[in-house]
Amino acid sequence: MMRKYIAITLAILVSAAAIVFFTYFGAANITFAETSKIILYKIFGVFSSEVALLASKETIIWQLRFPRALLAFLVGGGLALSGAVYQAIFKNPMADPYILGISSGAAFGATIGIILKIPGSYLGLNLTNWLAFAGSILTVFFVYNIAKVGRSAMLTSLLLTGTAVSQFLTAFISLAMMLSANEMRRIYYWTLGSFNSKGWSHVGMVLPYIAISVIYIYIFSRDLDIIMLGDDTAVRYGIDVEKVKSRMFVVTALLMSACVSVSGIIGFVGLVSPHIMRLFTGPLHKKLMPAAFFFGGALLCMCDTIARSAANSEIPVGIVTALCGAPFFIYLLRAKRTEVI
């Protein structure tokens, strides 16, 4: 029991340190101590006299870099969490959070937003974000309801429907890109994912979904363990599989839509974070869920730091996650070959 709390506390502290550390990285000449002080001042109100002298740096840290790092952390955690849930429900190690067409739904929404160029914003987010959010939610519920027969949704028909709907929407996006060459770059950029110029309002968009779904999914961790053994087994062990599944689909759909709407499509984090953590925690979700959340968060936070500071111009973070994540994952597969999956 004690060990569990120590592990959680440690994970939170390490994650906090990681966020601060990645906040410190960047072009402007700000020291690590200054970064820490500014953040601690903003959160706990300490170091007020010293921070008063760092006004311009305070803006860079508190308005630009810190919310961005925090957002990357939350989105990464959300992706990893959803990945773990999907891998359990689909009993398929290949499942990732985009499997039901969330990504193409969001991209479709964003494409419409970019092309129509409707001005205006709501709660600090522009219309593209909201259209992406709506697009992905509508897509996943559309897919779910198409695949559903009676009370239950067959997993294979969910996957196939998801793939078909994805292809359909992707075709529309490609068509839109062809027809409006001016916006092609922006649409393409959006689909590669980025935290460029994201701030507190975006954090505000994601945070409630993260908070609710982290708790909600954690409550269902034993159900997910058992569902992972197969739907028949779960029924035998007294799990109302369809009920748990549909609840998980709702909560992850909201979570993923919120994440994707602010970040664009970031691959790989949702797929590999649960796998990598499973190597250390084993498959039981009570341990896996928190581990995957913190790892996914830290991983994306790191990748975003690389994305914004590795080259002169910003690299889309989705490219970085795949560039860094894939070789690391392959290395792990090789090194711990017998234990993976």
Binding site: K91, M228, T233, Y237, G238, R278, P283, I341
Partner: protein, 418 residues
């Protein structure tokens, strides 16, 4: 007494297809009932109906006295657990994790297991002989080990009713016996009620109290093993020609399938009585049986191998004490048996004072009934000083007996012109 599980005129199926039709069945506490039936008979559907993964279109299933539909999945899992045919996962749970999940119906979400839960799990692991690899990954186990883990998990649910869906189809005979003996022991010593769907009729006969035979969604028969496991019941259900006998080693009823039959089971042809002994009749018994002759045998001594062969094949015969002369009483019995027959075959058995009365019985029976008698020719067989040869020659002279060679006779049997 109220049954633990009761099907009350239940019809259940998928979409439009009715699988179980107006099905009635009661299972009482402490019973071990095996469900038998050909593929597609509705055995698995029966289990799914108990689990409520399909609901009856009419009729009601009662579990522990309550309508099965009124239970939540969780409540039901506290009363009944199911061992499936096979189980596999690609995720590396440990054996202990899996068995511990058997306690989940008794726990609320986020509630931790109590020491009692761990005790139950330890016991379930020990019972199934899986305790020694409780920390191994379930992905690294052999099929047999994995199945024992699944049974362990089912026992960890501390069920009142254990349902087995062909639990040993993946196991070798060592583990099959281990599992079946374990389940039988739990049934006898702890009063665990068992409902087992089994393909292996012999296992079912050996370990269960009762058998339930279903075919095409309907109950064919239900009852104690010796009433259900008979050729008359099983042959039309499985469309297989078979021998049902008592295995002297396991002392249980055993079914030996011979060959599959066409849709229609041919009626018996003529009834044949075999005069044999000392192993001279065995090959003829097989020929006669396979060609659908209803066969019986004249008097045989109880230590005779032909007597054992008759028992194995379920043929009627007259049994005399070992190494004794045929008594008058058995002689009369023998005459009656022969009178029921159309054909008598005298195998290449030697005759001495002990079995001479078999020949006399033929002669006596022939006085009141028309018989065709076939005498198989062989070397010296008369050890009575000419008495036996005289009787046989007499029968030939009177025209109802003829001497044949063994392979000519088997030819006649195969061509059904006996």
């Amino acid at each position: 007494m109220e049954p633990l599980l009761s099907f009350d005129h239940v019809s259940v199926g998928y979409d439009e297809r009715i699988v179980l039709d107006d099905f009635c069945f009661d299972l009482f506490e402490g019973e071990f009932v095996s469900v038998l039936g050909p593929n597609g008979a509705g055995k698995s559907t029966l289990i799914n109906a108990v689990l409520n993964t399909i609901t009856p279109t009419s009729g009601t299933i009662y579990l522990s006295g309550k309508d099965n539909r009124s239970y939540s999945y969780k409540e039901r899992a506290c009363i009944t657990s199911v061992v499936p045919q096979q189980f596999s996962t690609s995720f590396a749970f440990t054996v202990y994790d899996i068995v511990l999940m058997g306690r989940s119906p008794f726990l609320r979400r986020l509630q931790s297991e109590t020491p009692e839960d761990f005790e139950i799990v330890d016991r379930a692991l020990r019972l199934t002989n899986t305790y020694q690899f409780k920390d191994r990954k379930v992905t690294a186990l052999s099929g047999g080990e994995r199945q024992r883990v699944v049974i362990s998990g089912a026992l960890a649910q501390t069920p009142k009713l254990l349902i087995l869906d062909e639990p040993t189809s993946q196991l070798d005979m060592h583990h099959t016996l281990e599992i079946m003996q374990l389940i039988r022991r739990l049934n006898q010593e702890e009063g665990l009620t068992v409902l087992a769907v089994l393909h292996d009729i012999n296992m079912a006969c050996r370990y269960s109290d009762k058998l339930l035979m279903i075919k095409d969604g309907k109950k064919v028969i239900e009852g104690p093993v010796d009433q259900v496991a008979t050729e008359d019941v099983l042959t039309p259900v499985y469309k297989v020609d078979m021998v049902v006998r008592t295995n002297r080693l396991t002392e249980s009823i055993e079914v030996v399938p011979i060959k599959k039959t066409d849709d229609e089971i041919l009626p018996y042809r003529k009834q044949v009585c075999l005069v044999c002994g000392g192993g001279s009749g065995q090959s003829l018994m097989v020929e006669l049986r396979n060609n659908r002759y209803k066969t019986c045998a004249a008097v045989l001594n109880s230590s005779d191998s032909d007597a054992e062969a008759c028992q194995d094949m379920g043929f009627e015969f007259v049994l005399e004490a070992p190494f004794c002369q045929i008594s008058d009483e058995k002689f009369e019995e023998c005459v009656e048996i022969i009178k029921k027959c159309d054909v008598v075959i005298v195998a290449s058995v030697p005759f001495g004072s002990g079995n001479l009365k078999n020949l006399e019985a033929i002669k006596k029976a022939a006085e009141s009934k028309k018989l065709d008698v076939y005498l198989i020719e062989c070397g010296k067989r008369d050890f009575t000083g000419g008495l036996a040869d005289a009787i046989m020659d007499g029968m030939v002279d009177e025209g109802y007996a003829k001497k044949v060679l063994y392979h000519d006779l088997t030819g006649l049997i195969a061509q059904n012109v006996l």
